[in-house]
Symmetry: C2
């Protein structure tokens, strides 16, 4: 068994328009790296976080909180050192805390000789999510650990489904540098919704799932309608309506908020459209002087992995 | 072009647990027959309704209301006579009004030389539904006209999807003879639902759609959870909890209310279990002296058709 491992943990996008709290997918090649090695003193220690100023306290960082949950469940006293290389600003809506949560449990599980399956790791990674957002969400860590497109059908009991990923489905993301904390983004949501509105939302969830199975790109686009969360949260995101309207005009299948924002994502059928939209997004924010990072990838069929 | 036609229009089950107002499926061989013939005076006339005492007024009966919507859209002055043979009591939750709505437009469309596709007929059939339930629902007429399992993704614009039907999925239905009017069953629903409850519901809709694509019978069963409508409507249905509990104990994949009730339906993997549940249901109501009719069939891949 190795004493040391280097892993890549992808960024993820939860909600996906209609699927608030249940749908999510992994990006391909966009995410963070983590080096994890065994240590003899039984402690979890974060040696270094490269890229951004994040807590190195092992009782706070999602990577080590999640790893601790796994170790406790396994009854293991093994210690580990972590070096985490972040590439995406925190508070993006691209599941950066989940990348660390999932990365931490994945690496530790590998170094322990894989006592748990990827699906079983979800529960431990959720403990990392709980540390930052108060609720143990699975909609980011599930695609992170399982790859591709996932649906959290139920939390009690936890039931996570892997959905098919159409071959030419490309994602473009823009992350304007305004911070929206998940906890704040949750607070502004209404606790109650109209039944008629909820019906529209679950019609679209059904449509999106069907679109993924059928590789029906237009149906995927038509179903990316969020009548509940988007109308409220978009007010926190500068240029949201403008970017969405132009994305659709430029050929995007659909456009919505990545996770709890402020990142905006689109789906496109094919790389060329996705590329064009990336440029457009960058230009829009450059024009008004808001720093913004743009990303483009296929949906990542593989989740967190050894590199 | 024929002057006369005889058709079979299946019974249908809407809602299907989690999919209130969006999901529905057709039954196989259970439904009503209709004979429709051209007449020269431009009128729509119901000559006879066999089986139950229903309105013969062409301005009221769903078959002729729906047929009139089609004729108006087509600009046709053709008249038709209808004889309708009902086999299921009205107010069952098995889409009997929809059977007439869909049957009426299907028959007239055939006799006019098929100016409209089955998907286009849905809009006209919805006018029949509107006549009885005040809202132009599509969740029964869609599976009636298209067959199989359907999802009304959206009403504006109308977007109806056909979902796959697993080969061994059997339906058992019991219709206890207590009348629940759709309009009354709608009135008792809360107009607002908790967001967290709505999230559970759309997780299940996604799961059910996935289960149909995967022919994953257990997933179909796990997803047939209705946390919004069932808890309220089931109080209108005598023995509901008892029948549900026993159905699951007897091997049903899941159990829920058919449409707005009072019929209860179960899914089973295979005919034997479905049969056993049918007997159990009959016995339950016989024991307490409530007249009840029971039905069993596969999901009807074909919708309304010429016989």
């Amino acid at each position: 068994m190795a004493d040391k491992i280097k892993i890549f943990s992808p960024a993820t996008v939860a909600n996906v328009g209609c699927g608030y709290d249940v749908l999510g997918f992994a990006l391909n090649g966009i995410g963070e790296e983590m080096e994890v090695s065994k240590r003899d003193d039984g402690k979890l220690v974060i040696d270094e976080i490269i890229g951004f100023d994040l807590p190195k306290d092992a009782a706070v960082n999602t990577a080590t909180v999640a790893a601790r949950a796994l170790l406790d469940a396994a009854g293991s006293k093994q210690g580990f050192s972590f070096t985490i290389k972040k590439t995406i600003n925190p508070g993006s809506g691209m599941g950066t805390s989940a990348s660390s949560s999932a990365g931490g449990v994945f690496a530790v599980n590998e170094l322990l000789g894989r006592p748990y399956t990827p699906a079983q790791l979800v529960v431990f990674a959720m403990e990392g999510e709980k540390a930052v957002s108060k609720k143990a969400h699975a909609d980011n860590v599930a695609p992170n650990l399982l790859g591709g497109f996932t649906l959290v059908r139920s939390y009690e009991p936890l039931d996570i489904l892997s959905l098919p990923v159409p071959e030419d489905l490309f994602v473009t993301i823009v992350h304007p540098q305004v911070e929206v904390k998940t906890t704040d983004a949750k607070k502004i949501l209404k606790k109650q919704v109209d039944l008629t509105t909820a019906v529209q939302q679950w019609g679209n969830v059904g449509g999106l799932v069907s679109g993924l199975y059928e590789s029906d790109y237009d149906l995927i686009g038509r179903s990316m309608v969020d009548v509940i969360v988007e109308p409220i949260r978009k007010i926190l995101i500068p240029l949201y309506d403008e970017v969405k309207t132009q994305s659709i005009a430029d050929g995007a299948l659909g456009c919505s908020i990545a996770g709890s924002g402020p990142s905006i994502f689109t789906f496109s059928n094919g790389e060329e459209t996705a590329h064009q939209i990336k440029s457009m997004m960058q230009t829009k924010y450059d024009e008004v002087g808001i720093l913004a990072y743009t990303y483009m990838s296929k949906i990542g069929k593989e989740g967190v992995r050894v590199i």
